[in-house]
């Protein structure tokens, strides 16, 4: 079971209080984009064994969306951070580098 801390209201709760919202930091492609870009945005997702970045919503709580970094193997949560960002905060990336040397996720490492 995941234990997540909502950065919006500060509650540390277990998984059933939250709802997963899929992969984080997607770039949206809409009208005007190429078919390849649109297809990739709609259908291609990361499926890592290890470090993963996701969107979560505090659905049975303050109702806000946020980001979480976790390990898909051990379910360890490295940290959560606000939704209003295009990139995880540097101190969180540093923490993951210490715990999982050599990790890669899209253009992050």
């Amino acid at each position: 079971m995941l234990i997540l801390t909502c950065p919006c209201c500060g509650v540390t709760g277990e998984e059933t209080e939250f709802h997963g919202g899929g992969e984080a930091h997607l770039t949206r492609y809409g009208p005007g984009s190429t078919d390849e870009e649109f297809q990739a945005y709609l259908f291609r997702r990361e499926n890592p064994k290890g470090v993963h970045f996701e969107r979560w919503r505090h659905v049975n709580g303050c109702g806000k969306w946020f980001h979480a970094a976790r390990c898909t193997v051990t379910l360890e949560v490295f940290g959560t951070y606000p939704a209003q960002t295009l990139r995880p905060p540097e101190d969180l990336l540093e923490r993951i580098r210490e715990k999982r040397p050599g990790w890669r996720w899209k253009d992050l490492s």
Binding site: G13, G61, G63
Partner: protein, 187 residues
């Protein structure tokens, strides 16, 4: 105007007393909670300051509850919801805020008794130890399968709110958790 005179007066006497409280006025206020104008408007209309994060502050029967980073729930007297919402909307005109009378949306239950922490802990994934959850603390969470929220009035009194559409489920669940045959002594 809300027709909020529906008499909900079910009660159950178990490990704790479970009471369905009569209708109260409730107003949802959304806006920037740091905005000085909004904070003043809340204090002027309700008579209670905007509370800290995850707190419920009351002055007699009137209260202000922190619901999310941009939302408050104001508890006022029965039948006063619409008037309070109007007054707030008027005093916040021109700004980005919304006040709506939601008196009929939710029901309020009261738990009375020394073992209410155990009763809540059976139903909600919340650390109910006296160090972690103190009087005045407010928490939105789930009770069993439904969204709900509660706050501690004092160590022997808690109030639980949930949507009216699931009130029967909530009442049944609270009574079940308060069954004397299933008493827990943890805290």
């Amino acid at each position: 105007m809300s027709n909020s005179q529906i008499p909900v007066t079910q009660s159950f006497d178990g490990v704790v007393e479970v009471l369905a409280l009569p209708a109260q006025g409730m107003v949802t206020l959304r806006g920037d909670l740091a905005d000085e104008r909004l904070r003043e408007a809340v204090n002027d209309t309700v008579g209670v300051e905007v509370p800290l994060v995850r707190r419920a502050d009351f002055q007699d029967a009137r209260g202000v509850i922190w619901m999310s980073p941009d939302e408050l729930l104001l508890i006022v007297g029965a039948g006063q919801g619409a008037a309070i919402a109007d007054r707030l909307q008027t005093s916040l005109a021109g700004g980005h805020a919304l006040a709506v009378d939601v008196s009929d949306a939710r029901v309020v239950f009261e738990l009375r008794g020394r073992r209410l922490r155990e009763v809540i802990a059976k139903l909600a994934p919340v650390d109910m130890s006296p160090d972690a959850f103190t009087p005045g603390d407010f928490r939105r969470t789930r009770f069993g399968q439904i969204a709900a929220a509660f706050w501690l009035v004092d160590d022997t009194c808690a109030r639980v709110i949930c949507f009216r559409s699931v009130a029967d489920y909530m009442f049944g669940m609270l009574c079940h958790a308060a069954d004397p045959a299933a008493e827990l002594i943890v805290y």
